[in-house]
């Protein structure tokens, strides 16, 4: 990915979307992130512009020093926020490389110092070439870095995250206390500063109307669930993100194990729901899936949300061997490429909503069927 030059955006897929693993039919991706702050500086919401710039400088120096920075971060792309367009920022959000708050929450974070003070001073993100590691500077905390893994995999992700954390810790001095561990701007992250989450596809539970019960139970035992590809509780395409809420009093491994236990349980429920549908409502299910496939392969105009819903339905069809003309991986790629900012970057042109709907339909049309000639343009790196 080359963000420095808008015209040379790669058309490749981030590594965390590429997988042939069967467990990733239900779990799309796994994510771990640490929140850290430098000792001796106020947290971003209380820092002056010159302090924010200083923090960014120090982190930049740490990367340039390089010795302690793990190999998987080489080469790394550095993107300063005062240099990118809103479209490029949105592109990064859609690719899960920065949080929506990082661009939308700027006003909330900024101190009204002077009318011309730049809201993006000191804000930047580092992204590695595989796009599975990103590091935000001066979001809610001085540092928030994450590792995204394809499918259901925390072992490798946590190992990488720790390697990066240990490397940085040797150069930077983190704010910490014996009682509360790593100190964060919001007390809800204090302790390990670890947030672990899975992005999980649960169409079986949605279609059999069991989802409400399951989600409520997850809430009750203290984990967080939210609909994905949507705002707040609204869910699109039956994707959910499950994450821990507790970061203090449990070790990093215990936190990840907690998420794994819940995920295993959810996979079990989802498989049961799919079996039930195959045995009891097969025709209805097939009809729903083939209709979704038909619309996707013939629509001439399609909005992002409708496309996401239909793709999620076809994804279920592929996982259940009802649709064989396409693959889980192809659907994963499409779900990313058809989103508004990614679509415009893919075609390398700014588009109106109508133009996007047209290009989106034609992109899906040419890529949905895995055997079509136009496949080459999506070759993974």
């Amino acid at each position: 990915m080359k963000l420095s030059d808008f015209s040379t955006f790669d058309q490749t897929t981030p590594s965390w979307l590429i997988t042939n693993d069967t467990t990733s039919q239900i779990v799309l991706s796994s994510r771990v992130r640490y929140a850290r702050n430098l000792a001796g500086f106020p947290f971003p919401n209380k820092a002056t512009n010159s302090e924010l710039a200083g923090i960014l400088d120090i982190i930049n120096m740490a990367f340039k020093d390089g010795e302690r920075i793990p190999e998987f971060l080489n080469p790394i792309e550095y993107i300063a926020f005062d240099k990118i367009s809103p479209l490029q920022a949105e592109f990064l959000v859609e690719r899960h490389l920065i949080s929506p708050d990082f661009i939308h929450g700027l006003k909330l974070n900024a101190k009204p110092q002077s009318p011309n003070s730049n809201l993006n001073t000191g804000r930047a993100v580092f992204i590695n070439e595989d796009e599975n590691v990103s590091l935000m500077v001066n979001e809610e905390d001085h540092l928030r870095f994450q590792v995204l893994s394809a499918g259901y995999d925390f072992t490798n992700g946590l190992k990488m995250l720790n390697a990066l954390d240990d490397g940085l810790e040797l150069i930077l001095r983190y704010a910490n206390s014996p009682q509360y561990g790593f100190l964060t701007s919001c007390p809800s992250n204090v302790g390990t500063g670890l947030r672990a989450s899975v992005l999980i596809h649960l169409p079986g539970l949605v279609l059999t109307k069991e989802i409400e019960k399951v989600l409520r139970a997850i809430w009750q035992i203290g984990y967080n669930v939210r609909g994905f590809f949507g705002e707040g509780t609204e869910t699109r395409g039956h994707f959910f993100q499950i994450s821990n809420t507790v970061t203090l009093g449990q070790s990093e491994t215990e936190i990840v194990e907690g998420i794994e236990k819940i995920t295993n349980q959810l996979i079990g429920y989802e498989e049961k729901a799919r079996d039930y549908m195959l045995k009891n409502t097969r025709k209805e299910l097939e009809d729903k899936i083939y209709r979704a496939y038909a619309i996707l392969s013939s629509a001439r105009l399609i909005a992002s949300q409708e496309a996401l819903n239909l793709l999620a339905t076809v994804r279920l069809g592929v996982a259940m061997n009802i649709i064989t003309k396409t693959s889980i991986q192809r659907i994963n790629q499409l779900m990313l490429l058809i989103r508004p900012a990614n679509l415009q970057v893919f075609y390398n042109q700014e588009m109106s909503a109508l133009e996007r709907d047209e290009k989106r339909a034609s992109l899906i049309h040419s890529l949905l069927n895995e055997n079509s000639i136009s496949n080459q343009i999506l070759s993974p790196k």
């Binding site: 001796g40 106020p42 947290f43 919401n45 200083g54 120096m61 810790e169």
Partner: protein
């Protein structure tokens, strides 16, 4: 369509029912304009949002929190309550007693059991220390806190000198 009892405009914004001395109910329908002229009721929709009411109530209750300040960054505990964000690492000590129950409620724990910072690291690169001090120096100058600025400048000098003598 009902009409305004005063100006006969076919618009009624408020109906006032009054009971006079002999017990008869008299209804008066008024349009917005006439009602305002008569000073009846709060015709203008109140502009208070639910959020504002909540904030104001919280402010009243937590007025004392305005006086609890972080000794390092100056954040008041009331500010923390409003925005949910602490201002610096020192806030954890400045608000220790008030924070503990909040942290306990969120995490059901008050003691970190995860990764600990490496204790074996002795030398933090002077380069980083100097860069950090420079930044604090800049912001001290911006805030016209020259006394502090002078102290920081001396610190930087000291680090530079010990570096040279090595």
């Amino acid at each position: 369509m009902k009409k305004c009892s005063i100006c006969q405009k076919p618009e009624v914004a408020v109906v006032i029912s009054t009971i006079d001395k002999d017990g008869t109910v008299v209804e008066l329908s008024l349009c917005k304009e006439c009602a305002e002229k008569k000073g009846v009721g709060e015709i203008k929709k109140t502009k208070l949002s639910a959020q504002e009411i909540l904030n104001e109530l919280q402010e009243k209750i937590s007025e004392q929190d305005n006086n609890i300040l972080c000794t390092n960054c100056g954040l008041s505990f009331a500010d923390f309550r409003r925005r949910g964000r602490l201002g610096c690492e020192q806030c954890y000590q400045s608000f220790a007693l008030k924070l503990e129950p909040i942290i306990k409620r969120i995490h059901n724990a008050t003691q970190h059991t995860g990764k600990i910072i490496t204790q074996g690291r002795k030398k933090i690169s002077e380069k980083f220390e100097i860069r950090k001090l420079r930044t604090t120096l800049d912001s001290a100058i911006q805030k016209e806190d020259f006394e502090r600025a002078a102290r920081i400048r001396d610190q930087i000098k000291k680090i530079r000198q010990t570096n040279k003598s090595k």
